[in-house]
């Protein structure tokens, strides 16, 4: 395990602490303890791939963004990210590269978020989740009056989409498409497919009915699918 990892994660956490005046002393102490303990365990094998502060800063930014979206509360999000980073520090031995580090902290973050969402029962008022403009969204671009596909909107065959999962460019398109979803659709879609909460847990956490949830997931899937098809799977054929 690289002591460099510990150093960098430590630097991230310290940076966080300086920025956050509200952090309570108990948390501060537990972080400092974790840093001190891990610092002493450092050994000689250093992974140079992890000496990349830009990568770690970027990772933290992604974590905060994701947690904020999921929890709709920047303080809760900062806390979850911080706890995930502390968790990562405690198990720093398991990292074997950037991918492993990222997988690891996101797995911890996902669990933290799932815990918070399950505990709090309701993080937001339903009103903030179901805005009129999104509810009023109509499908006339996709479907005709009888509810059948408009001729130019009919989903095409994607061939073997699994191959795309190994292509960097695909992930850039995926991210752009995900960011293009209305915030609330992205949020419930990620709760379902990434945080892997059950449908009833999502409904409780965000205070919506099963029907609301099904409608939102349906819309998010239609949109995401369309975006991926236009910008990735059929790219070039349209040009």
């Amino acid at each position: 395990m690289g002591s460099r990892v510990v150093e960098l994660l430590g630097a991230l956490l310290r940076g966080k602490l300086q920025r956050s005046q509200k952090r309570n002393d108990a948390t501060r102490k537990s972080i400092m303890d974790a840093l001190t303990n891990e610092g002493m365990k450092s050994d000689a094998s250093e992974a140079s791939i992890l000496s990349d502060t830009a990568f770690l800063n970027d990772l933290r930014r992604q974590m905060v963004k994701f947690a904020t979206l999921q929890l709709s509360n920047s303080h809760a999000a900062e806390d979850a990210v911080q706890e995930a980073l502390i968790g990562a520090l405690k198990n720093a031995q398991s990292f074997a590269g950037r991918a492993a580090l990222k997988t690891w902290v996101f797995a911890i973050l996902r669990n933290k978020i799932a815990d918070v969402l399950r505990q709090k029962k309701r993080m937001v008022e339903a009103s903030s989740l179901l805005r009129e403009d999104e509810e009023g969204e109509d499908f006339s671009e996709l479907f005709d009056k009888k509810g059948f596909w408009q001729s130019d909107e009919k989903p095409a065959s994607w061939g073997n989409p699994q191959d795309s999962l190994h292509q960097n460019q695909f992930w850039k398109v995926f991210e752009i498409c995900l960011e293009g979803l209305p915030g609330n659709q992205a949020r419930v879609f990620m709760m379902k497919e990434f945080v892997e909460l059950e449908a009833n847990e999502i409904c409780t956490a965000v205070g919506i009915t099963t029907t609301n949830l099904n409608v939102m997931l349906h819309r998010s899937r239609l949109r995401l699918r369309e975006c991926l098809e236009n910008n990735w799977f059929l790219k070039g054929e349209h040009a």
């Binding site: 992604q62 994701f66 590269g97 950037r98 991918a99 492993a100 580090l101 990222k102 997988t103 996101f106 797995a107 499908f139 996709l142 479907f143 009888k146 509810g147 059948f148 596909w149 909107e153 009919k154 989903p155 095409a156 065959s157 994607w158 989409p161 699994q162 795309s164 999962l165 190994h166 292509q167 960097n168 992930w171 995926f174 991210e175 995900l178 879609f189 990620m190 379902k192 497919e193 990434f194 892997e196 449908a199 949830l213 099904n214 997931l217 349906h218 899937r221 239609l222 995401l224 699918r225 991926l228």
Partner: protein, 65 residues
């Protein structure tokens, strides 16, 4: 027969709950005749798979290859 908007709704819901037998049969009938919804039914599980792969480091792994 159900239309495409209803069919895609059921396909989406099938990710969250088990469809009833009549729902399944109606959907099957529609999908047999509609290539758009057939493609949609293959794409929806892929979206979930991609979402789980995203941010869990799969993009980083691919960079090393």
């Amino acid at each position: 027969m159900m239309n495409c908007q209803q069919a895609t709704m059921l396909i989406s819901e099938s990710q969250e709950r088990a469809l009833s037998l009549p729902e399944k049969m109606n959907l099957k009938l529609h999908v047999m005749m509609c290539s758009g919804c057939r493609n949609f039914s293959l794409q929806v599980p892929f979206l979930g798979k991609a979402m789980r792969a995203y941010a869990s480091g799969k993009d980083e792994e691919s960079k090393k290859k």
